[in-house]
């Protein structure tokens, strides 16, 4: 379980370090819509994943945070590639995408909640 309390300066320095590392890792052929490599956040709120479609570079760690007031899960469509336990409000789940591909996933508790991560 990740600590949720960081003071803002520490968070700021951490973020800048991450972005700097990401800038070094981005390949020349990356599409202009790609986001920087590591430390990407997806927010779960109001029975939806935001953003619903996320494009990242291989090697990126994506962290989902449940901001909704009901529990949700993060489960790949095939149910084996990644599968979080039930996340209560405020809880997080992370997964590092090492292989390129399109990873469709959903909430196994509320299966109408669908989204995908595209790894390039």
């Amino acid at each position: 379980m990740k600590s949720r309390t960081k003071n803002r300066t520490t968070a700021g320095i951490f973020a800048m370090t991450v972005v700097a590392l990401a800038a070094l890792m981005v390949t020349a052929g990356a599409s202009p819509q790609s986001k920087p490599a590591s430390g990407i956040e997806i927010k779960i709120d109001n029975f939806s994943f935001g953003p619903m479609r996320l494009t990242v570079a291989a090697g990126t760690t994506v962290t989902w945070t449940n901001d909704d007031d009901v529990p949700h899960t993060v489960v790949s469509d095939d149910k084996t590639t990644f599968r979080s336990k039930a996340l209560d409000t405020g809880e997080k789940f992370s997964y590092t995408f090492t292989k390129p591909g399109t990873y469709a996933y959903f909430c196994s508790v509320h299966p109408k909640m669908v989204a995908e991560v595209v790894v390039q």
Binding site: F47, P71, V75, P111
Partner: protein, 318 residues
Amino acid sequence: MSDYIEENLDRDGVDRRGFLKCMAWAGTGTLCLLQGGVLKSFALSDVLQQKIGHMKSDLSFVQISDSHIGFNKDANPDVTATLREAIAKVNALPTPPAFVLHTGDLTQLSKADEFDTLSESLKSLRTERIFYVPGEHDVLNDNGDMFRERFGQGTQGDGWYSFDKNGAHFIGLVNVLNLKAGGLGYLGPDQLAWLQKDVSRLKSSTPIVVFAHIPLWAVYPQWGWGTDDSEQALSYLKRFASVTVLNGHIHQTMQKVEGNITFHTACSTAFPQPAPGQAAGPGPMKVPAEKLRSVLGITDVNFVRGKHTLGIVDSGLS
């Protein structure tokens, strides 16, 4: 609101339009009662003070649903308290129910201590037996193992079962497991095969009551309020004279009549949810504190042998 039948469309003595109009008021403390096909409405307080007199039936049972023990957000910071109030309401009914059905989402997070609190609270229910089916909140991390361990004695597969009472046949279904991405509730081929076999031996005159957590009709698919393969299940029940389907999950009362089948959903004892499409999502809906108890509730069901439809009465907690 009339005290008499206004439209006898099916010539069976049931004024369905009046009944449905009446049901809309049930949450605010008015009871609508179907006695042998005659529709009457009463103030809940009159019923509880026995001003109406004993309501004769061959079998009476109660449905409660969606207690969500463990939930503690704004919409209701004390769901155990409102569950206890619902239990008090059940215990105050003029006829003690033969049994109680809990149509799922007993807990919020499938935790052991939540199940403990739920079981402890229900000990004060004045009834002989409680039957359960799980909601999606009860099977979060273990495919329902803990739920079945506590409440699944005598069930098969993922936890389905049936039993007979006073000539009626009751079927508990599980439609909250093995859910597919983008899908709705799901019964699955094993359960469907069991269901077909289970009812095959019954006479068509046997009243059937099916209970499952997620609605077995498409209330509002956009919010997951429906079951993908319910049509197949209902096809096995087409030949029966009377089928009643009792569900939870949507935290509000809704009723639909389709041929021989009456579908009914129950209020939650914990918190309300918005009407279909009336909010961005189906999550817990905050209402003014003084209004909360009127949108929570229990469902009282009465069955008279020989009559087609079961008398279904919803009452709010206030």
